[in-house]
């Protein structure tokens, strides 16, 4: 079986599945349960500076988006950083790390944007024996109003400055956790690198309002009739997170910067996808909050089986394997021509492909007598919307036209050569091939 043990910025863990800094990692009790269940590591819920702890609301902290059968697709939270005394957390971190030396224990931190605040807390954390720190520059709610969290993460200069303070004041590896609430994720990643960060982790939650109560007209979660924006997470944010991870992994300016992938990891498959796009490990929260810690067992078996099937011996063999295939639109092969094909034996005749194509796309599916749905090659642009709306897996597939075949839509013969937009005659800025 594949070896899932991994080393991330020098921190070893028996598998690449860490629990993200969040409610599940706020206390020794929870973290012990997580380690007993098999999690490779945790990022302890964000600690603030010494003194009176912050307070949380005393009403609901979460809003939710559900799919069928109340499957939780996304969760929004307005919980702040830990509301327990700093000393309590530090003591518990020390105890847990002592008892689970083989697991990764990283501590998330968020203190005011002044060097003394960081200088004060870093030695305290170091004293616990923790493996590293994660700088919470991501939380979009609550703390950001006080100039922390995403308020820092949205200003690359601040990221670089605080990262540098930390690197100068601790021997522990520094992971910078990034907010997705920004226009181009590469800038904060570059700033992290410039500040000396050992790694970045992303994404933190996405600013959101999950729903509005249509009786009280209050955004959810509603606290005495009022709501505020929260941080959205869970399966719904995975595509956003994957793209941001890939953006950083393929950015020449932050080349080699390790990434801890976060955002909607729910199954081994999600984890594998993050790893292939350049994440060195993954962090999980919502899936654990939805199903409990036991899910890590499925993640471990699933990832291991898949790696065995692919002949990949270690996590390092997986990391970044899809990055070379992540490119800009302008480099996509315009000579790659496909057509949708409907397998009549698998088709159950629901007609969703027809409705989608006829109403919203290219009128490229014919509804023939007997509810027989067939692709009209003369109209099919190969958008694959029909596949995406078809309820039957593999009923509709895209068939690649071979070189020499005629694309009935354009009347052109398919050519074998690769050609992209940069050289296309319709591109005013095209440079002729030399």
């Amino acid at each position: 079986m594949a070896n899932l043990a991994c080393e991330f910025v020098g921190i070893r863990s028996p598998n690449p599945f860490w629990l993200a800094s969040a409610p599940p990692t706020d206390k020794e009790f929870n973290v012990r349960r997580a380690f007993e269940a098999g999690w490779g590591g945790v990022v302890w819920k964000t600690l603030g500076e010494a003194g009176p702890p912050i307070v949380n609301v005393n009403g609901p902290r979460y809003g939710a988006v559900w799919g069928a059968d109340r499957r939780l697709l996304g969760l929004n939270n307005i919980e702040l950083i830990t509301d327990r005394p700093l000393e309590t957390n530090l003591q518990e971190i020390k105890t847990v790390k002592r008892d689970y030396p083989d697991r990764a224990v990283v501590v998330s931190l968020m203190v005011p944007c002044v060097e003394d605040a960081w200088k004060a807390i870093l030695p305290l954390v170091e004293d616990t024996g923790a493996d590293g720190i994660e700088l919470n520059f991501g939380c979009p709610h609550g703390m950001s109003e006080r100039g922390m969290g995403s308020a820092v993460g949205q200003v690359p200069d601040y990221i670089e400055m605080v990262t540098r303070w930390c690197k100068q004041n601790t021997r522990m590896p520094v992971i910078v956790k990034l907010t997705p609430n920004i226009t181009d994720i590469r800038y904060p990643a570059r700033a992290s690198k410039a500040g000396g960060a050992d790694a970045v982790s992303l994404i933190n939650t996405v600013s959101s309002i999950t729903s509005v109560d249509l009786d009280t007209f209050s955004p959810e979660p509603s606290i005495d009739g009022k709501g505020t924006h929260g941080g959205f997470c869970g399966p719904a944010v995975k595509p956003i997170a994957l793209n941001m991870v890939a953006q950083i992994a393929s950015d020449a300016e932050s080349e080699g910067l390790p990434i801890s992938g976060i955002g909607g990891v729910t199954t081994w498959r999600d984890a594998a996808e993050f790893l292939t796009l350049g994440a060195g490990n993954v962090q999980v929260c919502t899936a654990a909050m939805t199903y409990g810690f036991k899910i890590v067992q499925e993640m471990i078996s699933g990832l291991g089986d898949w790696m065995d099937e692919k002949g990949l011996a270690s996590v390092d063999d997986v990391v970044g394997r899809a990055v070379p295939n992540f490119t800009d639109w302008q480099y996509l092969n315009l000579n790659y021509v496909t057509k949708a094909r409907i397998d009549q034996d698998l088709c159950i005749g629901c007609g969703r492909c027809f409705a989608a194509c006829e109403d919203t796309s290219h009128q490229a599916i014919a509804m023939n007598p007997g509810r027989r749905f067939e692709v009209i090659d003369e109209e099919c642009v190969a958008c694959n919307l029909c596949i995406n709306v078809c309820p039957v897996e593999d009923c509709i597939t895209m068939e690649e036209l071979a070189p020499g075949d005629v694309d009935l839509r354009t009347g052109q013969h398919v050519v074998a050569d690769y050609a992209n937009w940069t050289t296309h005659p319709n591109n005013p800025g095209a440079c002729a091939a030399e």
Binding site: A68, D69, I348, G349, G351, R352, M367, P391, V392
Partner: protein
Amino acid sequence: MANNPFTPGIAAGRHSSEVLDRNFADLHPPLDRHEALVAADRCYFCHDAPCVTACPTTIDIPLFIRQIATGTPEAAARTIFDQNILGGMCARACPTESLCEEACVREVAEGRPVEIGRLQRFATDTMMAREGHPYGRAEKTGKRVAVVGAGPAGLACAHRLAMHGHEVIVFDARQRPGGLNEYGIASYKTVDGFAQAEVEWLLGIGGIKVEQGKRHLDGPDLDALIKDHDAVFLGIGLAGVNALQIEGVDLQGVDDAVDFIADLRQAEDLSNLAIGRNVVVVGGGMTAIDAAVQSRLLGAETVTIVYRRGRDRMSASRFEQDLATSKGVRIVTNARPVRAVGDGAVQEVEFQYTRDVANGLVGTGETFRLAADQVFMAIGQTLEGASHTLEIEGGKIKVDGSGRTSVPGVWAGGDCASGGDDLTVTAVAEGRDAAEDIHKTILAGREMVNETPRPGNEPG
């Protein structure tokens, strides 16, 4: 308990009240809200959906299911009632397995269709639990229409006419309105007095007067009705039953299945309803199944359905056949009764095996006997007492696509009329469509015909 399934002869109280209550409980219990959401989510919202095509009343099934899925079951109910005002009963009584659910693409894909019937019940129950009636009436037209028969066809016709602003008087021969909904459908499909509750709810639209215990079937009656009203709709069902011409049919214990079913529906206390120890039901339709299953549920020790042709020719759906066998009913096919045997009361029925040949059914000569304390005949109903002035076709009142009979001013629909299956849902469709045609006909020339609001547009 004095009696049990082994008590000889015909006896009441073969099961305790608790067992009877359990036996006659809802066949398909209602979905709760979450179950309905999960069931609704399985609908693919097909384009030009096959289930709609398969529905005799053309309910927009994908739309109403989506309305359930989005938390608006009352909007769903309106989608249903716009097409089928007896959508509540149809949700319970329709053979969905051979209509909408048979056509469902998930039936094709996985052999497990979307539970359209139960979802329809969820939606209609939700709205019917609400105070008041959801439809209003158009401005009064001053027209009066007589409806004969308060069964599904008559009620659907009356409701649609009332909605269009006409005054309707319904004459019904029985003690209670509802027709076969009240007297014909198996108890476990319509529990807790639903049939009467539904009629009451339907009449909530106003403008409909119902007179029970009034037969208007023969020629002079029809002429009088035509004279006194702007139109007449006949939804008189099939009041007669086919008689079996065999020796011994006069023996005590040989009864019509429809009477048994009606008695059962009207029984105040099922533990007072007598049933034979050994019951034989002759026939192959829904009536046979309903009689047989309910005989078993009442406590008969053995119940056998005997049908003269093969299983594939039975008009009862496969689902109903399986329901019967699951309740311990034995189905014997390719046999027809030769004689009932007994001394005063029936004791046995002799059957002869049959073979289906090109020009009909022939006996093979081989016979067998079944012990029988009670025999229910379920070999079909017949039109009874329709006015001789009406043209008859295939034993039914001949109608055109709009329900018009051969007599001007007279429409007909439901089981008594030609065309369509003898189903509640078909009767509703025919009553509704006849009402639309009556409406157009009696207001011909008036501008307001076109202005009459369509169902669904009136204030609630």
